[in-house]
């Protein structure tokens, strides 16, 4: 005999006429916007670390002192190319090295007059990497001051920086979601105080608390979803305007665009997830608040 019907729900209580209904979607939209940007940032950070990891895992750099003879350089190259697990070894020409140093030293510095080490770009087979300790030992026997950099230090610094950024972004997301819940509770309480008489009537006429709560919660789901959708749309516009989400993190363009762009399904998954989460949080907060309020009635 007793049942809930969506058909009568909007007509049963005169909902939607207090100020809370007007401000809640905009508050939710703002919080959803922050949460969406935070989530996109998280994806970019994680993808960047992964891309950097993969890139560094396949390369090493060997620095050989500037005064090393060509014969020794050839020997070093031969050692590298014969080592199991090394796919290629390429000696950078002085001009290539100069290009790499130009951002730090400027274009007018006469590099040929400086003791710039020779650089050998080594590509390794990530599936069967070489024994680095043995390789270092072998290289030292040819050029004692040669320095083999497998980028672990750089990678560690990048990971550490990305980890700190992820913590900050996670905090932003959590705070935004908590604020959505708090806003919904505040809006429900305001609405309940305004509609107290109507809800009391329905309660006294025998409406099950769960039906009253469900009716109000469904309206807050709508409000939360619309706010979440507005926030997600604003986040999309921001990403489009910025052009490259990776710019937030000052990471290399190729890694960032691989991580998150408008063509990336994760971008849309984040926006959909944020909008849905905003709606569900608003709905759950409303349901709990109404049920607790009704439980105090006789």
């Amino acid at each position: 005999m007793i049942g809930f019907s969506f058909a009568w729900a909007p007509r049963n209580l005169p909902l939607g006429r207090d100020a809370a209904w007007h401000f809640l979607p905009w508050v939710v939209a703002l919080m959803a916007y922050l949460a969406a940007l935070g989530a996109i940032g998280l994806i970019v950070a994680q993808a960047t670390v992964r891309a950097t990891d993969a890139s560094f895992a396949e390369t090493m750099t060997l620095q050989v002192p500037a005064d090393t003879s060509n014969a020794r350089l050839e020997t070093v190259l031969a050692v590298l190319r014969q080592t199991k697990g090394i796919a290629d070894a390429h000696l950078l020409a002085p001009a290539e090295t100069a290009r790499l140093l130009e951002p730090w030293l400027g274009p007018k510095v006469p590099l040929e007059q400086l003791p710039i080490p020779r650089l050998i770009d080594v590509r390794i087979d990530p599936a069967a990497p070489p024994d680095l300790a043995a390789l270092r030992h072998q290289l030292a026997s040819v050029v004692p001051d040669a320095r083999l950099d497998d980028h672990r230090a750089s990678l560690g610094r990048a990971r550490s920086a990305a980890g700190r950024i992820e913590i900050v972004l996670s905090a932003v997301i959590v705070v935004a979601l908590v604020l959505i819940a708090m806003s919904a509770v505040y809006a429900v309480r305001t609405g309940l105080s305004i509609q107290r008489a109507s809800i009391e009537v329905v309660h006294l006429l025998g409406a099950p608390d769960i039906d009253v709560a469900r009716q109000i919660a469904m309206r807050y789901l709508q409000l939360g979803l619309s706010g979440g959708a507005i926030g997600a749309a604003a986040a999309t516009l921001t990403v489009v305007a910025v052009g490259n989400p990776g710019a937030f993190l000052l990471v290399p363009t190729n890694a960032a665009s691989a991580a998150t762009g408008l063509a990336d399904w994760r971008f849309w998954a984040v926006l959909t997830g944020v909008a849905l989460t905003a709606g569900l949080i608003a709905m759950a907060s409303a349901a709990v608040t109404v049920l607790r309020w009704l439980a105090r009635m006789p």
Binding site: I2, S5, R17, S198, V201, V202, L205, D209
Partner: protein, 228 residues
């Protein structure tokens, strides 16, 4: 149908509103509850309607004890009762028809049945032509009739009405009691509270009188069994 056993009600340290009320309403009966303003009539009705908990004593509704019931069970009992509140408690933002339809909608009745019952009830109380008017725009007497229609639209097993004739003239009051008698003939037990003792005396129904929190049977040829 309704049985109160040694029911008392007192708020905090104030004077008791109900002292030791015992009362039995038989199924299908028609009863008046009289008493001056402040005698405790509204409190007694609220206790019967589960809108208030007694400070002591027991209330049995429809043959079952009500103490310790959970919220869904209490809501289920309320749906079997029609109530005309003293302050009417209409929802001003809704139309007359939607106010009358509330109990049926709460019960999940089909829309067609709702339309038919509401139209019938509005005709009973003489407001068929005001069905779409927001109740906030109706006169006091019209609002009273809407409240009565809402109380009986779902053919409750028990109808309790708190001063249902308070805002209407004598002719309309008589008409409303005839409406209550009509619903009573369909099997609903009726309890009407009124301060107007002379008005209640016009009818051949059982009468209880509440004074200083104590209940007495003042019916002509009263049946002492009704009050223990």
């Amino acid at each position: 149908m309704v049985s109160l056993k040694h029911v008392g009600k007192q708020y905090d340290t104030g004077a008791p509103i109900l002292s030791d009320v015992s009362l039995t309403l038989e199924a299908g009966g028609f009863y008046f509850l009289t008493g001056a303003s402040g005698a405790g009539k509204t409190t007694l009705l609220r206790i019967i309607h589960l809108g208030e908990l007694p400070s002591r004593g027991r209330l049995l509704l429809f043959g079952g004890a009500t103490a310790g019931l959970d919220a869904p069970a209490r809501a289920g009992l309320r749906r079997r009762i029609g109530v005309v509140f003293q302050d009417l408690r209409l929802i001003d933002e809704l139309s007359a028809a939607d106010n009358v339809a509330l109990p049926l909608r709460i019960a999940g009745a089909p829309e067609r049945r709702i339309r038919d019952n509401v139209a019938e009830l509005l005709a009973w109380v003489g407001l068929a032509n005001r069905s779409e008017a927001p109740v906030g725009t109706l006169s006091g007497g019209q609002r009273q009739r809407i409240a009565i229609a809402r109380a009986i639209v779902h053919r409750p097993e028990l109808l309790i009405a708190d001063e249902p004739t308070g805002n209407v003239d004598d002719d309309v009051a008589l008409l409303l009691v005839r409406v209550f008698e009509r619903i009573n003939r369909l099997g609903t037990t009726v309890l009407i509270a009124t301060h107007d003792i002379a008005f209640a005396h016009q009818f051949e129904h059982r009468r209880f009188h509440l004074e200083r929190g104590t209940l007495s049977d003042v019916s002509a040829g009263s049946d002492a069994a009704a009050i223990e």
